[in-house]
């Protein structure tokens, strides 16, 4: 269970408040108008923003007391998810411990094939389109072992067909590995396709 209790974040003069309990293994879509604090909540769970009050409990452990590196969280940011000077494959293998390089490459390639980016793996990120970059980041985030996955507008740059493929892959991997997933989206189709719970922030 992920419990967000009386959580308060202050950004300048703007105060944001959150309250929600999410069952383990659930997919929660986060919606709300721009500036309502969707990304800030994800950044706070990941540890990049410090809350002014409240707590975030995961299996009864307060995440706020843990360093970023100790939190059981994998996050996909809206942008800047890739090291520009490393190959796509190398980027995709980061953040998870594989048995061997061969195993890492096989796992990544299999996922990349489902996301239609297998032929991009040996390129540099600068050679990829926005949508391809986003899928590389998405792939890496979902393959990481952390039980909590935070995705900040993961399908924003994808066309509708690719979006459907990527969303299905996310749902499959999340359910298969019992991941608790929070996903920011503005699209109703993502909510319909993925959400166990839709959390509308106001």
């Amino acid at each position: 269970m992920l419990e967000i209790n009386q959580l308060k974040i202050t950004l300048g003069s703007h105060a944001l408040a959150y309250q929600q309990h999410i069952s383990s293994g659930n997919i929660v879509t986060l919606q709300g108008v721009s500036g309502v604090g969707k990304s800030s909540l994800l950044l706070c769970i990941a540890g990049f923003i410090r809350p002014t009050a409240g707590s975030i409990l995961w299996q009864d452990t307060d995440l706020c007391a843990l360093a970023i590196e100790q939190r059981p969280v994998a996050m996909l940011f809206q942008e800047n998810n890739l090291f520009e000077h490393l190959s796509v494959l190398k980027n995709a293998c980061l953040g998870a411990e594989y048995r061997s390089t061969k195993h890492a490459e096989a796992t990544v390639t299999e996922a990349a094939e489902r996301l239609n980016i297998a032929d991009q793996l040996h390129k540099l990120p600068t050679e990829l389109s926005g949508g391809q970059r986003q899928r590389v980041g998405l792939l890496r985030t979902l393959l990481r072992p952390e039980p909590i996955i935070l995705l900040d507008e993961p399908f924003a740059e994808l066309d509708s067909q690719t979006r459907a493929v990527a969303a299905q892959w996310v749902a499959d991997i999340a359910k298969q590995n019992n991941k608790t997933l929070l996903l920011v989206t503005h699209q109703e189709e993502d909510v319909k396709k993925l959400a166990d719970v839709n959390w509308l922030l106001t």
């Binding site: 990941a46 990049f48 970023i68 590196e69 940011f77 800047n80 998810n81 980061l94 953040g95």
Partner: protein, 518 residues
């Protein structure tokens, strides 16, 4: 605190301990502190004023003259030998002072090639000789730094300016000046500190008590009078004033003068013929200024009587110079990288004050008088260990401390840039130190190699520290040049200088290659 940060803090503490030990060595030996009565002495006021005056004038002339030269090579990118000019500019900055002084003496000394054309009153010695040498070393540095700043102006600014039909004045004030403004004061401050602490130039060209700086006065107080209280007063004063300059300087970021030259400017304002001619003249004068002292080594080179003993001496010294330089450079790079770890962390967690303190402590050897460090440690360790046997280790260690601020300054921007771009990402990926390093390495490789070569060159030019800890049977090449020049064997000095110059050029060309490959 993470282990990696702890190692960095440990290294910073070690550097500070060396400085403290050196001062302790002097204080313990004399059994008294600084002689504070000196502060009201007119001799002290005179050298203090002269130190500040020559430093400010050197920095002012270098910075002001560098601007038109930097503009010339920026606005006229196809100008003849531009890349060579930029490489030579780096050479001037790292050139061993003794090579430069040998060149200046051949050119403008008593029997110099140009001296007959300069009138009866001309003398290379005194304020203008010092200014000339300081400007020679620092003007090209300023040109490189300003040129790099100009290269950072995005093409879109020029496109917009031309679309909005900006006048040359508007271009200058609205585009060029904002790009340079921040760095002009940094460059000025950096040169001021270097010239304020200048030793070899002032010692060689100072010309008597009217033209003495604090650093030289410390040397004289220690070498001739062995007056430690006086040396301590002078040292503390130098430390305080240079420290003040340094604190002002370090409030901003470092000057990226080794940065890769972006040669792919697509868009620049079109130059009129008048401007092209004007820029060509400015550039030619600058090139001549850089080349003349180097070319003036040639007559001595041709007049040298080559013997196998001379060649053996020179190449043996060269081998020692390279070995000591390499040891220093490896150690300095290792320290610089480790020291940057806690500094980077303090930037990431936004602890500005901690960052300033760590940076100041890590770089304090830029302002600590090298003579005090060397003599203080020498006195302290003389009764304890055999310095004849272990002197070379001290040469490497002390040179490491002297070149460390340059190493930190050069790698700092790139490492901070990496953190700015990727800190959130690598923290989110929970990478181990080693994983992070392997990702970081391709990003910083070029700057690490070019900085390595730079600190190697600076360390290879050392004379001051070797003069205290060096041995009589093993000599470095700069020390050999000093001995040849001191015994009026100017031809041999010119030959040895030319060999050293050649080695410097080879290393410099490699720096440029590494940067262009990156």
């Amino acid at each position: 605190m993470k282990l990696t940060n702890l190692i960095g803090v440990l290294f910073i503490s070690m550097i500070c301990s060396v400085t403290l030990l050196a001062f302790y060595g002097l204080i313990a030996f004399s059994q008294q502190g600084a002689d504070l009565t000196l502060l009201s002495d007119s001799y002290f006021h005179a050298i203090l004023l002269f130190s500040i005056k020559q430093a400010l004038l050197s920095a002012l002339i270098s910075t002001v003259l560098a601007w038109p030269i930097a503009r010339a090579i920026y606005y006229f990118p196809t100008i003849y030998l531009k890349r060579t000019f930029l490489s030579l500019s780096l050479l001037c900055f790292v050139l061993p002072t003794l090579v430069l002084i040998t060149g200046f003496v051949s050119l403008l000394g008593l029997a110099g090639i140009l001296t007959p054309f300069l009138g009866d009153n001309w003398s290379l010695y005194g304020l203008h000789g010092i200014l000339l040498a300081h400007v020679y070393m620092n003007l090209p540095f300023a040109v490189r730094a300003l040129h790099n700043q100009l290269q950072n102006i995005p093409d879109t600014s020029w496109i917009l300016a031309s679309q909005l039909k900006f006048s040359p004045w508007q271009r200058l004030m609205l585009i060029e000046w904002p790009a340079l403004r921040g760095n002009l004061s940094l460059i000025f401050g950096f040169i001021t500190i270097l010239c304020f602490n200048s030793f070899a130039v002032v010692l060689a060209l100072g010309g008597g008590p009217q033209s003495t700086t604090l650093e030289v006065a410390i040397y004289q107080a220690l070498k001739y009078d062995f007056n430690i209280p006086e040396a301590l007063t002078l040292a503390w004063s130098q430390f305080a004033i240079a420290g003040l300059f340094f604190m002002l300087l370090y409030r901003s970021s470092s000057v990226p003068w080794l940065a890769k030259d972006a040669n792919l400017k697509q868009w620049l304002p079109r130059l009129s013929t008048t401007n092209k001619v004007l820029f060509s003249i400015i550039y030619a004068v600058a090139l001549l200024f850089i080349l003349l002292p180097l070319a003036s080594l040639l007559p001595g080179l041709l007049a040298t009587k080559y013997s196998s003993q001379l060649l053996f001496n020179i190449f043996q010294s060269l081998a020692l110079t390279l070995a000591l330089g390499l040891g220093t450079a490896v150690l300095a790079m290792l320290l610089a990288y480790c020291i940057m770890l806690p500094i980077r962390n303090s930037i990431i967690v936004q602890r500005q004050q901690l960052q300033n303190i760590l940076q100041w402590l890590a770089n304090h050897t830029l302002i600590a008088p090298a003579m005090v460090l060397s003599v203080g440690l020498y006195i302290l360790f003389l009764p304890i260990i055999d310095l004849d046997e272990l002197g070379m280790i001290f040469v490497v260690l002390l040179n490491t401390l002297i070149v460390l601020p340059f190493a930190i300054q050069q790698i700092r921007s790139r490492l901070i840039q990496f953190d700015q771009d990727y800190a959130i990402l690598y923290r989110s990926l929970k990478l181990s130190f080693w994983q992070r390093f392997t990702i970081e390495w391709p990003y910083i490789k070029a700057v690490i190699f070019s900085t390595f070569a730079l600190v190697l060159l600076i360390a290879m030019g050392d004379v001051a520290i070797f003069s205290i800890f060096g041995s009589d049977h093993l000599k470095t090449l700069p020390w050999l040049i000093y001995q040849y020049a001191g015994s009026y064997r100017i031809n041999e000095a010119s030959f040895a200088s030319a060999v050293l110059l050649f080695v410097y050029l080879v290393i410099l060309l490699n720096i440029e290659k590494v940067k262009s490959d990156a």
